[in-house]
Symmetry: C2
Subunit: 255 residues, 2 copies
DNA sequence: TCTGCCGCTTGATCTAAGTCAAGGTCAGGA
DNA sequence: TCCTGACCTTGACTTAGATCAAGCGGCAGA
């Protein structure tokens, strides 16, 4: 039987009294906003940080009301969605470990953040976090850099949504997820050095991410598979068999 | 003969010795990043600010090399574009007066900024501006808020690109440009209170912004016109005849 | 005034992707 | 064990929008 690669370790929520596990001690150290902070800034964050585990589908931050916390993704993935009144949906962002969730100082976000897979977060109470940001310009600077990364990703995705074919969209999705998964436990290299990773999204979510229908997504998966470019183990696990051809199918970006 | 509404006033570039006109003295005061700054921060900006006039089509900041200046748009519009190796193009942002151009502290942007119309900028030499930002957290905070606005716009646009029909895309474009033009000299209300504004983009650029072809854009313009929703004077000037129907055609967002 | 070009419109046709519909697969619960 | 429902695949067909191909109109330069 096929099983997805990644599995959230089953450790319990930290009780309030226990020493708190923080961003400081996590896998993504050095990549998340904590990177390059002064030790004073780090210890400030550590003091308010709190571990949090979410099941796939759980809301993280709604686009309606004030967020009560911000967070850094430690494991798993989150999706940012926007919905039209008639139900049409677009996923406008996919967050991986080390990504920051939420917008300090804004009364409401422009999208709804939700766990795409089971995930772990390092969370910070909103008010305390904003207070820290005001005191430490290093944190503010990291937030700003994080914003730039999000803009870059959004602009890349606009190019994909507006100007790419279904095949190119799917190929680029694989390239992007492979890159973001590298070094995480949702990614391994097999004995012949082939990269294998889990898709954090269902076919339907994938369609909403790529601006396609789920049928078209499924057909493009099949096409890349039948051309020997990828292998699918089960429905969520992808192995890249031919990275050259995959890059060609993606027409360059996201490499 | 029809003439576009907006016209760049023909005042000469400020000689280096003359008292410099700055962001402080411009139309967009109170809306741009200068809003809410301390007087000390403002005077710092004023000291390095420099007026700049650009012709339509001139490059502002390339996505290749380090920017030598950042700027606030005073009049006219700029477009941010991304290009695929085979020439396919996507406009990933449209900038209006009060918008900030460029990314301090990043070695290169992810898109190419270019004047869409003749325009005026309030520019800041890159190095001096970054120095100021480091000193004054108020400016940093304004930059951060500006980044949030850009993310919001980008996410809205992803929804448009991925999930809207050609008709909805065009209707939303009109709604968005009308909103952003309000209060500028590229916008007026006629005697019966109808809103009239200039499109900053050619049909071909509009197509690249909406993820369509220019033919489809042209046909959708015609459709909205023949339904009495808009009027076109010449090829760039739009009057909204029926805002209710326009909003209906846009299926809600951007209002 | 004429000419050529650029940006735009319009029509005819084509096609990539959407829609509709029928199964298949698998995990979880009765 | 079988049933149920969620998720995915596959096929047949339809269609929105792309592509191809004229042609128009205004203005810039001769």
């Amino acid at each position: 039987m096929k099983r997805p690669i990644s599995q959230v370790h089953d450790f319990p929520d930290q009780p309030a009294s226990a020493p708190r596990r923080t961003c400081d001690s996590c896998v993504v150290r050095g990549k998340a906003i904590c990177a390059g902070l002064q030790s004073e800034e780090l210890s400030g964050l550590n003091q308010i940080a709190r571990h949090r585990r979410l099941k796939a589908g759980q809301k993280i931050i709604s686009d309606q009301d004030l967020p009560d916390y911000f967070a850094i993704v430690l494991s798993g993935s989150a999706k940012l969605t926007k919905v039209l009144p008639d139900g049409r949906q677009q996923i406008v962002g996919l967050l991986f470990p080390s990504d920051f969730v939420g917008w300090p100082f804004e009364s409401h976000g422009s999208s709804h953040a939700e766990a795409a897979t089971d995930m772990q977060l390092c969370s910070f109470p909103a008010a305390a976090f904003e207070r820290l940001v005001k005191q430490h310009s290093g944190i503010q600077h990291q937030l700003f850099r994080n914003a730039f990364t999000q803009i870059e990703a959004a602009q890349d995705w606009m190019l994909l949504l507006g100007r790419m074919t279904a095949r190119e969209k799917v190929a680029n999705l694989f390239v992007m997820i492979a890159r973001r998964s590298r070094g995480l436990d949702s990614c391994e290299f097999d004995s012949s050095g082939r990269e294998r990773f889990d898709l954090p999204l269902s076919r339907s979510d994938t369609a909403d991410f790529l601006g396609l229908t789920l049928e078209t997504v499924s057909r493009q998966f099949r096409a890349l598979k039948s051309e020997g470019i990828i292998r699918l183990d089960g429905t969520r696990t992808v192995t890249i068999l031919d990275p050259i051809k995959l890059a060609a199918a993606a027409t360059s970006p996201f490499i």
